[in-house]
């Protein structure tokens, strides 16, 4: 049986011993480290972790230092999920053969990857891991851009965002395509659990991670990770941006159980207009020019439609 932490409040949470050290090279205000600490703090069990190439990886394991007080592996950009799946397979083999050094322990296998490493280059590897039923959890640190390489668009980059490979300009409003619906794709693998989380809603996040650790089979988590550098906001405002993301419903918080049972886990009491979320970020600044204001209206309509869709699915239990 897995061992879960019982944490009552934020103060207790912030002082809880964790296995991800504060000493790392992530930008001040980066949400990645907050999310990782929240995930690792959700369990007392042993952890076998991986990171795909990206901000988290290059900032936490620069030889001869490491920020990780749990076994951790990085291979490449696309294969972090498969790395941890390989370790999980070895665990099963050694368990069967009676060769585990600490057979009484109950490790959890988690792979962290950015949206580029998950939605794009690592897509096939993650799909393979989900399809094969490995007992692993893949967590996307979704900052909607290739942040580690300086802000190129990924298939998670939303419409109207200015990225270095889809920049706004005299004849362009930036990214033209809408974000890939990765959670639906992953849920369609009929995995036991898929969910969207946000670092500001830490109780919701911890509950979902703990649920993910309790199920047998692959788990997919998409975590919104506001990026001070590429979203262009003040580093002190990270949690404010996360609040705007969840409370405008641009990042609705929900879960999908066994590929079909959708539950909305957070309903904002005071809805924030999408315009406010966009206005808080430099990457959308150009949308406030007169000729692009229609895009803000379309943004709101898209978010409303998605919210209605999620509600219909929750109600229909399909």
């Amino acid at each position: 049986m897995s061992e879960m932490k019982k944490i009552k409040n934020l103060k207790e949470f912030s002082t809880s011993a964790d296995r991800f050290e504060g000493a790392n090279l992530l930008c001040p205000g980066c949400a990645h480290s907050i999310i990782v600490r929240e995930v690792l703090n959700a369990t007392n069990d042993d952890l076998i972790l991986s990171a795909s190439t990206g901000c988290l990886e290059v900032c936490t394991a620069v030889y001869p230092y490491t920020s990780w007080d749990a076994s951790w592996i990085h291979i490449g950009f696309e294969n972090g999920s498969t790395a941890v799946a390989g370790a999980e397979t070895m665990y099963k083999a050694l368990k069967k053969k009676g060769r585990l050094k600490q057979p009484e322990r109950n490790p959890k296998f988690v792979s962290f990857a950015g949206d580029g490493a998950s939605y794009d280059i690592g897509f096939q590897w993650i799909s393979g891991c989900m399809e094969r039923g490995h007992n692993i959890m893949h967590i996307v640190l979704d900052n909607e851009v290739y942040a580690n390489t300086g802000g190129q668009r990924s298939s998670s980059t939303p419409i109207g965002s200015s990225a270095t490979t889809s920049p706004e300009g005299r004849r362009s409003y930036g990214e033209k395509r809408n974000k890939k619906d990765m959670i639906s794709i992953m849920a369609s693998h009929h995995i036991p659990y898929a969910a969207q989380v946000a670092p500001n809603k830490w109780k919701d996040l911890v509950k979902k991670i703990q649920h993910g650790f309790s199920v047998d089979g692959p788990v997919f988590i998409n975590a919104v990770s506001p990026c001070t550098t590429e979203w262009k906001f003040d580093p002190k405002d990270t949690m404010h941006l996360a609040d705007l993301a969840t409370d405008s419903l641009v990042f609705p918080l929900y879960e999908i159980i066994d590929g079909h049972e959708l539950n909305i886990t957070y309903r904002p009491k005071d809805l924030v207009p999408v315009e406010e979320y966009l206005a808080a970020q430099g990457r959308f600044k150009h949308l406030f020019k007169d000729e692009y204001k229609y895009l803000i209206k379309e943004w709101q309509e898209r978010v409303d439609a998605n919210w209605a869709y999620l509600n219909r699915r929750e109600e229909a239990r399909v």
């Binding site: 620069v62 498969t82 790395a83 799946a85 390989g86 070895m90 094969r132």
Partner: protein, 407 residues
């Protein structure tokens, strides 16, 4: 869960793929992560059937690509257990990124490669293009000339690769189809003898030791990268050859079968010789014997260990020879062949001033016939008689159309 042992005949009729699958079974591999590709597919099919029939206790994961196969192997090896897989050609090419990562992370993994041509044009038959593609990947690379070698070299591969002084992955190459699909008599070891030879896997820096967490696959830049690469190269250059020799010696004691870094045939008094790899070694030996019957002192050098290149052993094997043909089964695409260059390097600062010429042959499964080798040996003798290379330094043999030669 237990598994059954298998009773083998003293001599089994196996092709190279079957020999590899049996060797993996007897090695009691903990994790195989694999993806099928011609001509190596029967290795992983055979292994899957052993598993289905209860002869294997380890885990077997059929992943969605060769890149994922090697990625899974890296994760499994880092976790701390015996790991192996198999591939060929395009699959090998897809794996290349992870091959460098596996060796740089110093993880023991055994990879069976049934050598095959690389597209384009697409071709399923044997040549050494994939082998050559991986030659700078930091892996130990052994070359089998026949199914017996495939079987035996797999045990050598595990023993050397997993040695704590080595900790480097190891490939066992065999010729696609000519070895992989051609059945021959293979002398077997019992399950206990084979496993006893390799021994139980001894973990090191294993992720699954929860009391000693370990970070694998770090970032280094100009401050440390060079030192890591230099150390890996150092270990390949300094440590691996003695370990392979020790494993060859132990294996000879167990099986009576003797392997060498460089397999010399009739070389003690040879005037001329062919240097080659794979199944061509056997063909060349047969023709060399026939040449001797005609009074031409011909010999053959087969390269058993491709990486690390047995630099001094090659020079020693070629000492005293007057003319050498280097046979490369991969298009150099704008250069002299790999073996030509390696041999030139091995001999350049020695007293051996042999005449060296290169031949590119057998691409995409084209046969190397005895007739080709007869005319090749005849050319070498002509070079000896003339005291110089009388042909272009690089010739293509067995290709249709006007004779192709360069340099």
């Amino acid at each position: 869960m237990a598994f059954d042992k298998m009773e083998l005949q003293k001599i089994e009729v196996w092709d190279g793929n079957r020999a590899a699958a049996q060797a993996l079974r007897q090695s009691q591999v903990d994790v195989v992560a694999a993806y099928p590709i011609t001509p190596s597919t029967p290795i992983v099919e055979g292994y899957a059937k052993f598993l289905a029939d209860g002869y294997i206790e380890g885990e077997y994961v059929m992943v969605e690509s060769e890149h994922a196969a090697m990625s899974g192997c890296v994760g499994a090896a880092a976790a701390g257990g015996r790991v192996a897989t198999a591939t060929s050609s395009q699959g090998f090419a897809l794996m290349v990124e992870v091959l460098y990562q596996a060796s740089g992370m110093r993880l023991p993994i055994v990879l069976n490669v049934a050598n095959r041509a690389l597209a384009a044009p697409l071709n399923v038959n044997g040549d050494h293009s994939d082998m050559y593609l991986g030659r700078d990947s930091g892996w130990i690379q052994l070359d089998a000339f026949c199914p017996q070698d495939v079987y035996d070299l797999n045990f050598i591969a595990f023993k050397v690769s997993e040695d704590h002084d080595v900790r480097l992955p190891c490939m066992v190459h065999q010729d696609g189809f000519m070895t992989s699909h051609t059945a021959q008599g293979v002398h077997t070891l019992t399950d206990d003898e084979a496993y006893g030879f390799i021994g139980e896997y001894k973990p090191m820096n294993d992720m699954l030791d929860f009391e000693h967490p370990v970070t694998h696959g770090v970032q280094t830049e100009e401050d440390w990268h060079f030192e890591h690469k230099a150390r890996q190269h150092n270990d390949l250059m300094v440590k691996v050859i003695p370990k392979i020799q020790a494993a060859f010696d132990d294996f000879e004691k167990l099986s009576g079968r003797k392997y060498n870094m460089v397999e010399s045939y009739d070389m003690s008094d040879a005037d001329i010789c062919v240097v080659c790899m794979g199944t061509s070694v056997e063909t060349a030996r047969e023709v060399a014997t026939e040449m001797r019957a005609k009074g031409i002192k011909a010999g053959v050098v087969g390269i058993r260990v491709i990486r690390p290149i047995p630099f001094f052993e090659i020079a020693e094997a070629l000492k005293g020879v007057k003319a050498i043909a280097a046979l490369d089964r991969s298009s150099p695409n704008g250069a002299a062949g790999m073996l030509f260059n390696e041999i030139a390097g091995c001999l350049f600062n020695t007293d051996t001033k042999a005449l060296l010429s290169g031949y590119v042959y057998g691409l995409g499964g084209r046969d190397l016939t005895k007739a080709h080798l007869v005319s090749l040996f005849t050319e070498l003798q002509k070079n000896v008689d003339a005291g110089k290379v009388t042909t272009p330094l690089q010739q293509f043999i067995g290709v249709r159309g006007p004779k192709l030669s360069f340099l």
